[in-house]
């Protein structure tokens, strides 16, 4: 029953897009205007940031702990990313363990950060069998689409202001800090939605309802560091390559906010 309303919405969006228009008046290659970043808004966390992205709102908190490294990377710290699609963010989110959407969101954001070496994991080595664990938690507070890009931006901003707690005599002294987390680059994500034969950047939640295919491209200033195609539709090779160019362009706009 609810899906009928969604079908009606989808048709409307598809009609508009076929005419070259978007519901909020943007161009196809335009990001939302009201994108802003606030850092360190959760002082209890070692790092944090909140992103307002149009009506989408995402909060990222970073906590650090000490633990054993992975056996195959004994001299590296451990990065772990989780995302919660909070039920307060949208009528379509339910309480419960992370579902596939939330897991995909966390893993795509993580992939960008990891591949581009935003954090030099080797610098998180403390001593034999002890490394810093970096816990990145993505908390979606308000869902109006494009959670991946908003979360990636928030995660990046949070990492930029993350402080490393003091570590003395085998104990973490929370509340006291020994320095900042070393952040080596700025990695951001840009997501495109394909509706019919048109491709738009930065879909709202209504546009995501109507989209046939989705492509997320994470970039550093010089390289592509992660890509994820979502939704059942397809892209041609040319479309894909063209979007990489666009992703660098949009990525640079976003990097300017960091």
């Amino acid at each position: 029953m609810v899906s009928i309303l969604d079908e009606v919405k989808k048709e409307y969006i598809r009609d508009l897009v076929a005419k070259g228009r978007r519901a909020d008046g943007r161009q196809f290659d335009e990001l939302r205007k009201a994108i802003s970043v606030e850092r360190s808004i959760i002082p209890n966390a070692e790092g944090s940031a909140r992103v307002h992205w149009g009506k989408t709102q995402v909060l990222v908190g970073i906590k650090m702990g000490v633990g054993a490294p992975f056996p195959d990377r004994p001299d590296e710290g451990v990065l772990s990313t989780n995302a919660e699609l909070l039920p307060l963010a949208s009528p379509v989110f339910e309480m419960g363990p992370p579902d596939a959407n939330s897991i995909e969101l966390a893993r795509v954001v993580d992939r960008g950060i990891r591949s581009s070496n935003v954090i030099d994991l080797k610098s998180l080595f403390i001593e034999e069998n002890k490394v810093w664990n970096v816990f990145v938690d993505i908390y979606v507070l308000d869902h109006d689409g494009n959670l991946i890009d908003a979360s990636a931006l928030a995660a990046m901003a949070a990492l930029q202001c993350t402080r490393i707690p003091k570590y003395e005599n085998g104990n973490i002294v929370y509340g006291e800090y020994s320095g900042n987390l070393n952040v080596t680059t700025k990695c951001v994500a840009t997501t495109f939605a394909k509706i019919g034969s048109n491709i738009l950047v930065d879909p709202t939640s209504d546009e995501e309802l109507a989209m046939d295919a989705r492509l997320t491209i994470s970039t550093t200033p010089t390289h592509v560091c992660a890509m994820q195609k979502g939704a059942p539709g397809g892209f041609t090779k040319d479309e894909l390559l063209n979007l990489i160019d666009k992703a660098f362009e949009k990525g640079n706009e976003l990097r300017a906010l960091l």
Partner: protein, 284 residues
């Protein structure tokens, strides 16, 4: 480890007196998708509450044919604590708190207006520093009002107890950890009815009575902030390009009229669109 001193010369570690509240800020209507929402900063606590409803009750077999089901969920973010990263996923403590907060709203929400539906309240503790359940409940009440859910009162709460042998109100996390007794309570300010009450530690009856009195006084102040946060929503809106409210302008012709709500919410509504002033109201 030696227990730290919490009270020195009648002042607490953050300089407060025994009956002083921490600074509190409340904002209503902070989220777009939720039907109602509120954000509360209470000392270092940062709490977000949101309401969806009345909406279809899923699972259907939980639905009550006579009233809405009021369901509250309290949860802490994994990054809320200054200490280590929190466990991801539901906790037993969270489940208990969700239950006792749900019970408060089951009392004050006029759920008979919306049979068969659910009203879902979500409380997220973004940063924690003692007294999160009462801060969460305070935020949830504002979120429910923001959503237009009819209630008997705007409830709020505070936690009190004993630290270093002295009775005090509104504990920070440090005081919580090292105090002798902790009493979170919530009250309907209009009637003085106690709707949430927990206690641990060892206290005499007189001590509990005194703490309740201190709690009531503090709750009055918190309630005033809730009211302000809600009323502010409408002053804000007026500032955004509109004209200030309620000017006695005799000149204005017909249409400075704010229309009365035609919908009559009382059950067994066989009313017409006219107001029915003699409609029986729920006697409380």
């Amino acid at each position: 480890m030696e227990k730290p001193k919490l009270v020195i010369d009648g002042k607490r570690i953050d300089g407060r007196g025994m009956e002083d509240l921490r600074p509190i800020k409340i904002k209503a209507g902070v989220l777009d998708k939720a039907d109602g929402s509120a954000y509360v900063e209470w000392g270092n606590n940062k709490v977000m509450a949101a309401v969806y409803g009345p909406r279809e009750c899923i699972p259907k077999h939980d639905a009550n044919p006579y009233r809405a089901l009021v369901r509250c969920t309290y949860r802490m973010s994994p990054f809320c604590s200054i200490e280590e990263h929190g466990k991801r996923g539901p906790s037993r403590r969270g489940t208990e708190i969700s239950k006792i907060i749900s019970e408060v709203f089951e009392n004050v929400v006029l759920a008979e207006y919306f049979p068969k539906t659910a009203i879902d309240v979500f409380i997220e503790i973004l940063q924690a520093d003692g007294g999160t359940r009462v801060a969460g409940l305070t935020a949830a009440a504002v979120a429910l009002a923001d959503a237009g859910i009819p209630m008997k009162d705007l409830v709020c709460g505070v936690a009190g107890g004993k630290i270093d042998g002295q009775l005090a109100i509104d504990f920070g996390k440090y005081e919580d950890n090292f105090g002798e007794s902790d009493i979170p309570m919530a009250v309907s300010p209009r009637t003085g009815e106690i709707l949430l009450f927990q206690m641990d530690g060892l206290l005499t009856k007189e001590e509990i009575s005194r703490i309740i009195d201190m709690g009531f006084a503090a709750i009055k102040k918190v309630h005033a902030l809730q009211v302000e946060a809600l009323k502010e929503r409408y002053i804000e809106k007026e500032k955004s390009g509109a004209v200030p409210p309620a000017q006695e302008s005799a000149e204005e012709e017909d249409a400075e009229d704010v229309p009365a709500q035609a919908a009559n919410p009382a059950p067994a509504a066989n009313s017409t669109n006219e107001e029915v002033p003699n409609e029986t109201q729920a006697e409380v």
